[in-house]
Symmetry: D2
Subunit: 413 residues, 4 copies
C-alpha cells in the first residue's frame, strides 16, 4: 500500500516489521506514493479513515488549502481543522516596527475572548496608543556533551571559547539566514550544556539551527574530548515553561506599554487605577503562592488565538506566555500599564505562515513575508496588553462573571 | 451601526464614547444587529475588513461552520482559520475508559510531528498497547479575600470550614453539572486565597464554576468579615504554568505507561533502553538547570495538535503540558515508559466541541458528547506517550536532525 | 585506637578496610572508646588534630558545654564554635501563644543585622505590637514506592486510603509524641510518592517520623504490591527550597502582622507607607524575574541568627526562609505589614535545644522545653516582621548602604 | 544611658522618640557609650538582660572572643553562642587550589551528620580523592531603576552599555579589591533591573559592592533619565533560593567529582552503583514533583556546619545550597559521582572569618586570610560530595533510619 523513499529512516522499520504475520491485525494509515499529498490521495485517506472509525468527515474535507501545499507542514493529511475567526480592533501602535492602526485576527472557540481584547484595544487607542520595543531577537538550541570527569568538562568550556570562530563557520555553512551569536556553556558535574545562540531572521528557526548546530557538534566530537552528545537537551525551553525564559534568549524579547488617563479607565474599563493596582498586588501574591512562572492575566489566550490565526507553531504558546504584566498608578492618578514578553516565538516566513488563512491573516496585519517578524512581535505584545487591561479590569470591577455569562453561552442546538 | 443589548456592559461605554468628535478617527469593527452572526453579516464584516486592510480573505471565508453556530464561541466573526489536519495511528489503548485501537487527529503546521507520533503509536501498539489511568478529575477557581488584619484572615479559614454546606448549596444552585468538592484556604498575610474545587463532568467548566463561585462569594461577603474579594486570583493556574500544577487539581490527572520489549526498541525506535535512559538522565539535568516546570520532551506539540483538532480551549495547552515523562530499563533489559499529566484540561461537551471539524474529530475517537471526557483524557495521555518515545528515541539515536530535514521542508513556491 | 560497637554498621567497613597495607597512608580521626565523648578524649582528639594540621585550637577548646552532653548531637567532638551573640528588642507580641515583651537573641557575624532587627522591633512595639497566628503544625516524610506498571501504582493509592488505620497503628507504635495525620499519594508513572504527614509536638521530629514511617513501610512492603521503596525522596523539602513549601505542611505555618501609624513610619523608619509599597512592587517584579521561591527581604538573616542562638537545626533555614512579606497602604494612609512563613521548622525539645547557650537563649524567650514550640514559632515570625520593616525601609529611603557603612566595619587588626 | 554618634542615622529617631512620656514603658536594650563593646559593658548588658528575662546566661558569658573584636560583626553584644564542633576526614582533594588531605570542621547539633560526612570522605580518599574545579567567581548586586515609559527604559539598557567605563571608574573608586566585570540589564515594563557583576577577591563582598554600586547609581541618576532607583532588588538572590542561581553569578561556581570503584561502593557504602543511580532517578522525580530548585541530598547540612565553623555568613546557606548532585554507573560498572554548586558564597577575609574559633577552623584547613577563598570553595564542594555519597547510600541501602537511631539519640538528662 505504501511506497517509501529511502530517507524515511525513522518509520521504515515500523512498517517493514508490519510484514510479520503477527502484525496483520495492525492497520497502518495509508501513506500512498510520494507520501500521498495529491488531492485524490488525501481524499482516499480520509475515506479510509471514515470507514475505520465509522464517522463522517465532511467539514474536515471542506479545506481550501491545496493539499500539495501542505507538504512539509503535515504528514498523513486528511484535510483541515477549522477554528472560528474573529477580529478585534482598532489597535493604535507606535512601535519601532509596527506603526499605525491594526485590526487583529483571533481564532478561538472561547466566547468573550475577542470582545475582551477589543475592549482593551479601543481603550488603548483612545488613550493615544501603545508603544512597543524589541530588546532581544535570538533563538537557541542546547546540545549536551558528556565527559570522562569534571576536569575534562571544565576544560571543554574553555575549548568552546577558543574555537568559536571555527564552530561558527561550520554552523553557518548550513544556512543562508542563521547567524551564530555565541555559545554559553553550563557545566553540571561531568556534563556540559552548550547554549548555541542564533539570530534566525524572520523564521521560527528551530529546524535551521538544529541543522547548523548538528554540523558544529560533529566538528566538536572530532576535535574535543567529548565522549558523546545529545543534539537537544530541553535547556532551551522550546515549547516548555521555565525560569530561564524570564531572562530572554528564546525568541523575541518585547515590551509594550501605555499611559491611560484616569477618566478612560473609568469610562472604558469601569474601574480605577487604584483598584487595578490593588488587584495586581493581590493576584501577584496568589500566583507567587502557586509558584507560577512569570505573572500575567491571560497571555495564553491572546497568544493561542493569534498563533492559530497567523500560522505560528501553536505549541510555542507555552514558552511565549511566560511574561509579566504591570499596572501602576502615576503621580497624577493615571494608569501606566505594560506587558513584557521575554521569550516570544513568532515568524513571518516558513512553517505555516504561507498557508491559506494564515497568509491572509498575516497580510491583514501587513506582516506577511520577509522582514516582518519584528513588526509581528510588536503587534502581539500590544494585543496582549489590551487583553491584560480588559481582563484585569473585569476582575477589579467585579464584572468578570457577568461578561462570560453574556458572551460565553452557546445557542441551543 | 450597532445595536447593543443591555447586558453588554463592558463594551457599551467604549462605543458610546465614540460619539465624541475627537474619536471620529477611530473606526470600530462593525458589530451589526444581534451581534452580527447571520451569514450575510459575517460576510459584510469580512468585506469591511478587506477594505480596511487592503487584503483578500478568500480562505478565511471558505468556512463550512454555519456562522450562527459560532455564537457563544467568538465575537466579530469573519470566518474560520484552517489548520492542516493529519492522522496518526493505530494506537492500542487498554485504559479504564478508552479501550481499543484509535486513529488520532492532529492539526499542525510543523512537519514531522504527525510522523513522529505515528512512529511511537505503531511501536506501542506492537508492544501490546498502552495502559492508562485517571487519578483525579477536578477543576478549580480561586478567589482571594482581603481582611482587616492577620487575625481576621486566620479566623476566616475556620469560617469556611464551618460553612462549607451552605456555600456548596449556594454554588450548586447555579449549575446542573458542577459539584463543589471542597474549599482549601491559603492565608498569606491578611489575605486568604480560597481554592474552590469542583467536579465539572465532561465540560471544561470554567464558566460554570466561575458563576457558581461568584454566587458563593456573594454569600461570603454578606456573612463573613471579608472586606472585599476578587473572583479570580490566578492561583488555580488556569492557562499558566506553575509548580502547584504538578500536584494536580486543575483538570484531569492521568497516567499512561507501556512496557516495550528490547527488540522493538531497536527495530522501531533505532535505539536501546539503556540509551533512552541515559538521554533521560542527561536532559533531566539540563531541564532542571533551566528551572523547567515538570519534565518531558514534547507534550506541548501533541497537546496543541489534538486540542486544535478536537475543539479544546487551546490556551489550556500551557497548564496541560506541565507533566513528567519517565524511561526505565527493566531487570530483563526491556523499556518501561510512562507519562504523567497532573493537570490535563479536556472536554467533550461545551466550548468548541460541537463545531464542524472539532465534532468530527471527537467522533473519530468515539469521544463526542456527554460521558466521554475521561476517555478523551486517556487517549491524550497515550498519544503523548507515543510522542515522548519517538522524540526521545530520535535524540538518543542521533536521528533527530535528519528526520526534520526529511519531513520539515516546504515545497518550493 | 578505636572501639566500635556493633551498631556502627555504616563506618565499620571503612575502618576495617583501613587495615590493608595500601591504606596505611590514611590517618583516621581518633574515635576512642565509647565514641570518645569524655573530656580528656575530646581534648586528646583536639591535640591530635592540632598536630595533623599544624595549628592552635585554643578558642575551640574554650567550650563550656560538658562534652558528655554532646553525645547524640555530634560525633568526633573537638569543642565548640563560638558565634557572637547580640540581643534585639523590645518586641511586643500579641500572639495566641506568645504574649508580652521579648528580647530576642541573635547569633551572627554580619554587622548591622542586630541593629536592623532592633529598629523594626522598637517600631512595632511603639505601634502597639505584632499579632501572630499559627495556621498549621505538621511535619512530613515522603518515601517513594516502585511498582510493576502504572496500573499497580494507581491501585496503590487506593490501598493506602483503605489501610490508613493499620499504618497509623504501625507508625505510632514507635513513638510517644508523633501522630500520623494522613498519607497523601502522588503517582508519577509507575512510582508513588507517599506523603506521611505527622504532628510532632515540640520536637523537630525528623528522626521520630523517619523511624515511625520506616515501620509503616515495612508493613506496606509485606502487604502491597510495591516492589521496593526508598525511605526518603526529598519531596518533603526538608532543608531545601521548593514550590510546595508555599502550601505548608513542612513545619509550622505562621503569620505575623502589624498596623503601623503613618507618623511612626516616618520617625522610626524614615520613609512613607507609599514608598514602602512602591519598593515592594518593584522588588517583587525583580524577584519574580529571578524566579525566586517566595518573596521576602531577609528572612534568612533573622532565621539563621535565631536558629544558631536557640539550638535549632540551622540547615532548616533553607526551607523556613521560603515565605512572603507584604506591605500595604491602608485607606487612612497607614502601613499594614505582614509576614507569612508556611514552612517554619522550630523545636523546643530535642536536637540542640538543651545544650548550654541554646538552652539559655530559649529560656530568655520563655521557650525552653515541652509545650513551647508554638510560642517560639510566633516569636520567630514577629522577629522576621521587624527585619522586613527595617530592611524594606532602608531600601525605600536610600539609607541601606550608609547603615552598612556605619555598622558593618571591622576594627583594624 | 546611650551615647549616639551622628552616624547612627537609622536608630536615632527610634531612641529619641523614646523620650516621650507614653514610651516610658518601653525598655530599650542598653547601648552604652561607644556602642558598648568594652568587656565590662558587654557584661553589664548581659546582666541587664538576665534581670529583664529572669534567667541565667553563664554559658553565653563563657566567651573567649575579646568583645572589642566583635565590633563590626554584631551590635548589642552579650557574649557568644556555642555550637558543638566535630571533625571529619581525611578528605583527599586534587583541586586546582586545594591539594592534599584535609580534616574538615563541622559545627552542628544534628547527630550522625559528622559521621555521615566522615564515611563519605574516607570512601572518597580511598578511591583516590576528589577532583574539583572553579568555573566562575563573581558576586552581584542588582539595583532597579524606574522610568517614564517603556521607551525610556528600553533606551536605558543602551545607555548602560555605552557608559560602562565611566560607571566602572565610579564603582571601583570606592574599593581596593572589587572589580566591576559587567552590567547586564533586564527590562520589565518601564523598570530596568541592572545586574552589577563584580569580582570581589577573597571577601564575601556584599558591603563592598553595595557601596561601589551606590556610587555608580548616583552617577546614573545624574546622567540618565531614571526617575528613581532602589539599591537592592533581590534579583541577585543573595540569601534566597531562585532559579537564576543555577546559572551562576552569585558567588563561586564550583564542581567536584570522583570515580569510585565498584568494590569500594560495596564495602564502604553498602550498596551498588546501580542502586545509587536508581535512587537518584526516583528521588529526582520526587523533588521535581515538589518543584525543588536544584537537586541534591543534603547540601544544606554540610554547608551550615562548615559555615558556622568557619565564620561564614550562615544565611548564605540558602543560596549556596541550590545545586546538583549526580550519580552514574560507568561502562565498567563503577560509580561516577559529582556535585555542582553554581552559587557558593564563601570568604576567607572579612565578615566573621577573623574571629576566635572561625579563624582557627580556617587555619585547620589552610584557608585563613587573603588568597584562600578559591581553595575553601573547592574544599566545601569536596565535603558536600562526601555527604551526598553517604546519605545517598544510606537511602539506597535502607540503612538511613538505623544510622539515625544509632547516632542521633541524646543521653538521658
Amino acid at each position: 500500500m505504501n511506497e517509501l523513499t529511502e530517507l524515511e529512516v525513522e518509520d521504515e522499520s515500523a512498517r517493514d516489521a508490519g510484514s510479520a504475520p503477527a502484525d496483520n491485525t495492525i492497520e497502518l494509515v495509508p501513506r500512498f506514493k510520494d507520501q500521498g499529498y495529491a488531492a485524490d490521495l488525501v481524499s482516499r485517506r480520509r475515506q479510509w479513515l471514515e470507514e475505520q472509525t465509522d464517522c463522517r468527515l465532511d467539514h474536515v474535507g471542506a479545506c481550501s488549502i491545496p493539499s500539495e501545499r501542505m507538504r512539509g507542514n503535515i504528514e498523513n493529511p486528511i484535510g483541515a481543522s477549522q477554528v472560528p475567526l474573529g477580529v478585534a480592533g482598532p489597535l493604535l501602535i507606535n512601535g519601532e516596527h509596527a506603526q499605525g492602526t491594526f485590526y487583529v485576527p483571533l481564532a478561538t472557540t472561547e466566547g468573550v475572548l475577542v470582545r475582551s481584547y477589543e475592549r482593551g484595544m479601543v481603550t488603548l487607542t483612545r488613550a493615544g496608543g501603545v508603544v512597543s520595543r524589541l530588546a532581544l531577537d535570538e533563538n537557541r538550541i542546547c546540545p549536551v556533551f558528556v565527559f570522562e570527569d569534571v576536569v575534562e568538562a571544565h576544560e571543554f568550556t574553555q575549548f568552546i571559547k577558543d574555537n568559536l570562530p571555527v564552530m561558527r563557520a561550520e554552523a553557518e555553512a548550513t544556512t543562508r539566514h542563521g547567524k551564530l551569536i555565541d555559545i554559553d556553556c553550563h557545566q553540571i558535574g561531568r556534563e556540559v550544556i552548550a547554549n548555541f545562540r542564533y539570530f534566525t531572521g524572520d523564521a521560527h528557526g528551530m529546524n535551521m539551527i538544529a541543522k547548523a548546530t548538528d554540523q558544529a557538534c560533529k566538528w566538536i566530537t572530532q576535535h574535543s574530548r567529548a565522549r558523546h552528545f545529545y543534539s537537544l537537551s530541553g535547556y532551551s525551553s522550546e515549547k516548555r515553561a521555565s525560569g530561564v525564559l524570564l531572562s530572554g534568549g528564546k525568541g523575541k524579547q518585547v515590551t509594550a506599554g501605555a499611559l491611560i488617563p484616569r477618566n478612560l479607565v473609568r469610562t472604558h474599563l469601569h474601574t480605577t487605577p487604584e483598584q487595578l493596582c490593588d488587584m495586581w498586588h493581590r493576584t501577584m501574591i496568589a500566583q507567587l503562592s502557586a509558584n507560577v512562572v512569570g505573572y500575567n492575566g491571560q497571555f495564553a489566550n491572546g497568544l493561542a488565538a493569534m498563533f492559530i490565526a497567523c500560522g505560528q507553531d501553536v505549541a510555542n504558546v507555552v514558552n511565549s506566555s511566560v511574561g509579566v504584566t504591570d499596572f501602576e498608578v502615576t503621580e497624577r492618578g493615571d494608569l501606566y500599564s505594560s506587558v513584557t514578553l521575554p521569550s516570544l516565538t513568532v515568524a513571518t516566513v516558513g512553517g505555516g505562515t504561507a498557508l491559506g488563512t494564515a497568509r491572509e491573516c498575516l497580510e491583514m496585519l501587513g506582516c506577511a513575508g520577509a522582514g516582518q517578524a519584528p513588526k509581528l512581535a510588536e503587534i502581539v505584545a500590544a494585543t496582549l496588553l489590551a487583553g491584560e487591561l480588559s481582563m484585569g479590569a473585569a476582575i477589579a470591577s467585579g464584572e468578570y462573571v457577568a461578561a462570560h455569562e453574556t458572551y460565553g453561552r452557546n445557542p441551543p442546538e
